[in-house]
Subunit: 137 residues, 2 copies
């Protein structure tokens, strides 16, 4: 049995966040000690690890609720849903990467321009004038 602090250390999820997940119905209310403190078992720990991992992958708490529900039942259609959710998410992640790469290029241009030659540095002009952009966005 683990205290919430233990679980926090093991999962790298902050204590208030664990309580928040409980409140949001992502995890069941765990048993309590005589003094009303939360006590988690291995299963609770696993569930939180699942959640943290899915969060790192960028899934919303709503998605995770679905994924967790699916992970409890083992029917075929549910698993298709898992693939659908992951697939949708993959698209979004790819779009974000593409977008960030454009931003990277522009920021590079901004932050590498010579900071010494003050007056003709185009940083702020770049920020205000869209036509300076290397790519549209």
């Amino acid at each position: 049995m683990f205290s919430i602090g233990e679980v926090s250390k093991r999962t790298n999820i902050k204590v208030p966040t664990i309580r928040y997940y409980e409140q949001m119905g992502l995890i069941a209310s765990p048993e309590r000690s005589e003094g009303n403190q939360r006590r988690y078992d291995r299963d609770g720990l696993r569930r939180l690890e699942f959640i943290r991992h899915a969060r790192e992958l960028g899934f919303s708490l709503d998605d995770i609720r679905d994924l967790l529900r699916m992970s409890e039942t083992t029917d075929a259609p549910c698993h298709e849903d898992v693939h659908r959710i992951a697939g949708e998410h993959l698209g979004a992640v790819r779009a974000r990467i593409a977008r960030l790469k454009r931003l990277e290029a522009e920021l590079e241009r901004i932050s590498l321009c010579d900071a010494g030659s003050v007056s003709d540095c185009a940083v702020l002009e770049t920020l205000s004038d869209h036509s300076h952009c290397a790519s549209e966005h």
Copy 2:
């Protein structure tokens, strides 16, 4: 003189967002018509374009407040600050790209695995078991 709706169309910033920026002190309160409606001039428009562009580059409203302040004064140290802010931001963007690429790889693995062979599909196991990850995160 442009109405807030005009400005919204020209800058692609939604009307309530423009009012929000005013409330947050990012733009000055514009003149008003006789009937108390906001009227913007070219300068107001430019300022909002600056903001939108900086937002697209991922700067926070706080950063943008600084950048705007700098864009009004033209001293050397300020411009160095611009470079610093942009540089810091570049680092963060690069980190995000790297992280997203790892996620992309993992999501690819999840969403491409055969949805037909149900029972031994490792999607949910992947989500729960960190050791399956191709790279640590």
